[in-house]
């Protein structure tokens, strides 16, 4: 900062035009330096600035032990796993909370699995990853919020946006090359919401401008209503449509009748 007066004294009196241009260059340098320091102070993601939060500190320790071997230190990503800067707390809560992370093996799809971390540990990890860069946070709503949403409207939204992969009743469906849309039978309302805002695995992100928070709650209500609803017609047969009905038709239907014909024939 005080380099410009010394340089100006060195060349003083000889080239006033050059002096002027050097002065302006020095001014630009000062402004950039100030801006840079301001950015460093105000922008999120700096480890030094967030280390005050104990949750983030605990989360960083957990991260360094359990996640950094694939995702790299400070979530920068590596050859085997993507960067976690900017994925947000919701993503961590979904991936770790459904047991998809830590990943058991590489494949087209991370399957739902046993949850390896406690609820507190997941929140700590989420806080740490959220501190790396801004992203969707863990949605805050309680059961009453989604339970009062419009089920039928949620059903229409579900059939328009979700059913083509997750099937009409959320039983799951197949995607290309070994990928699949999982069954929603084990998903909690929070996980369904998080999936919509973060787009895990092969799922697209349904941002709040595509599907508003109220609409998301309606979808959750529909999924949960369908799940808890008994099948009025007897055994639901997995709710996958005619394929399971066909198996029952051939085995229990015509199969039993053919055995009956054998029985009648044997008594002739």
């Amino acid at each position: 900062m005080n380099a410009s007066p010394t340089s100006s004294s060195r060349v003083a009196g000889r080239l006033s035009a050059r002096r002027r241009s050097l002065a302006s260059a020095a001014f630009v340098g000062v402004v950039l330096g100030v801006l840079g320091m301001l950015y460093a102070a105000l922008a999120p993601g700096g480890q030094a600035s967030t280390s005050a939060d104990p949750a983030v500190q605990r989360g960083r320790d957990l991260y360094n032990q359990g996640c950094s071997s694939c995702h790299g230190f400070a979530g920068v990503g590596a050859r085997r796993a993507p960067s976690l800067i900017g994925v947000g707390a919701a993503s961590v809560d979904f991936q770790v909370g459904t047991g998809r992370m830590p990943l058991q093996h590489h494949g087209p799809e991370a399957p739902r699995s046993r949850v390896r971390y406690s609820q507190q540990e997941i929140l700590d990890l989420a806080a740490y990853v959220a501190s790396l860069g801004p992203g969707p946070g863990i949605p805050q709503f309680n059961d009453a919020d989604w339970q009062k949403a419009d089920t039928a409207y949620g059903g229409s939204l579900f059939r328009t946006n979700c059913a083509q992969c997750h099937n009409f009743a959320g039983s799951g469906g197949d995607l290309t090359y070994g990928k699949y849309a999982p069954s929603l039978s084990k998903s909690t309302p929070r996980q369904i919401y998080e999936a919509m805002v973060t787009g895990p695995e092969n799922m697209p992100v349904f941002g709040d401008k595509q599907i508003t928070p109220d609409q998301k709650l309606a979808i959750i209500n529909y999924v949960r209503t369908i799940k808890s609803q008994a099948d009025p017609g007897g055994a639901g047969l997995g709710r996958v449509g005619p394929v399971s009905e066909t198996v029952v038709g051939w085995l229990a239907g015509i199969g039993i009748l053919v055995i009956v014909t054998l029985w009648i024939g044997a008594r002739a």
Binding site: A152, G173, Y177, G234, P242, V243, T246, I264, A268
Partner: protein
Amino acid sequence: MADTSKSGAGETAARKGLRYVDDRLGTAGFLKRSFNKVFPDHWSFLLGEIALYSFVIVLLTGVYLTLFFHPSSSEVVYNGSYQPLRGVPMTDAYASTLHLSFDVRGGLLMRQIHHWAAILFVCSIAVHMFRVFFTGAFRKPRTLNWHIGVTLFILAVLEGFAGYSLPDDLLSGTGIRIAYSVMESIPVVGTYLAYFVFGSNFPGVDFIPRLFIIHVLLVPGILLALISAHMMIIWHQKHTDFPGPGKTEHNVVGTPFYPTFLIKTNGFLFLVFGVCAALGTFAQINPVWLYGPYNPSQVSAGSQPDWYIFFLEGSLRLMPNLESNIWGHTISWNILVPGVVLPGIMFNLLYAYPSLEAWITKDRGFHNLLQRPRDMPVRTGLGVMSLTFYGILYIAGQNDVIANTFHWSLQGTTWVLRVLIIIGPPISFYIARRWCLGLQHHDEELLHHGHETGIIRRLPSGEYIEVTKPLPPERAEVLAMQLGHDLSGHAALPSSENGHGPSGNGHRPVGMMARARGALEGFFFERHEPPRANPEDDEPKTLTRP
């Protein structure tokens, strides 16, 4: 005395009633003949009855459904008791199906029994057709009845598809959309045909009322008429039977229609009823409320038709994506071939098979005795080959559900099935034919050596003999006939009269078609073991100790 007169009076009253009818219609002779009609006993002859009785169930339950179903595409807002759809706009057809399912007493049960019975109807037709095919029951004089049967099968499939489509739910609407596109794929007339059938562009408002009339009036009427014709022809021609002691081409051995057969078949009717009712009670089928109303912008993962359309779904899924453009018109081979050409070939082959086989074997005789699958290895092989082809298409129709269930790659299943559809049928033909020949071989051994007893006897000379127990003579006689031997010697009959051997009249065939026919005939009757000309060869094997 008083008792006698009383019973006599009662008898007279009953007789009076019968005489009243008989005097006016002359039915006594018909009834007498009919009551004494003889039906042979074999379990496989009951398979067709499953079809008949499930059709009866479908008719009865279907009548109940028509009382509540509205075949209308007009839009309504659902306000019934199924909460997750309240306030959703839908067609009246779908709303009335929901009403039928949730607000009509017994409605859901009737719907489910109707649907399960329809599934069993098509299943049992297929199983019955296997029996008729593999036993050669389609041969003269029953060729016409085979044709009627194939028509019944096709109509049953159409009828089932129409019924599946009527509720206008998301799943069935997807199926209709595919059917519309298959129609459109027909060159030149496709779009006109689709417009003609739907009355407008897809989906339009005319289709559901039209489909309803097709489903409840047109096709059931034709089905009823053809089933009647099918059974009258059976009645007239009398039932076939497997060869057995005392059974010839000119008699029928079995139980009389009245009372034995009638009671048995009625019992069977109730068993079929029972299975349909049990399925309808305990197994949910076509939960339209879960599918939601049809909306062309929506589709569900795992959208499948009912089983009898799986093969078409499968052929569409396996077909590579081919399209060509001729003078500005697109021809979608990827839909035309699997959706129109393939089923056309398959059903025409079904119609033509009896004539094709008769042409190849030059078999113009009457056949009232059935063959076992092993008696005609090539026919059995062709049947198994066709079933393999059909089965692979059938599996391909649900490959996404299979891939998802077993965590396989969807593309992987498609490619495996594409390869299998080419190499599977010939392999299955080879295996089935070899299997039949092996069974024939076994039969020959039974006939000439009898059953093994496990006893080896040593003769005074030191020679060891394996002791076999010959078949009972009546069993041997039947087996000899089934293997195509005449009863005196063991040489294959040189004539085709019993359908077991080539005509072999010694003349060289003239003309290309005749030569082709001759070659096919040779293939049809080719055996891998030489005919046993010398009975001495058939002596029991002896073991000699040095």
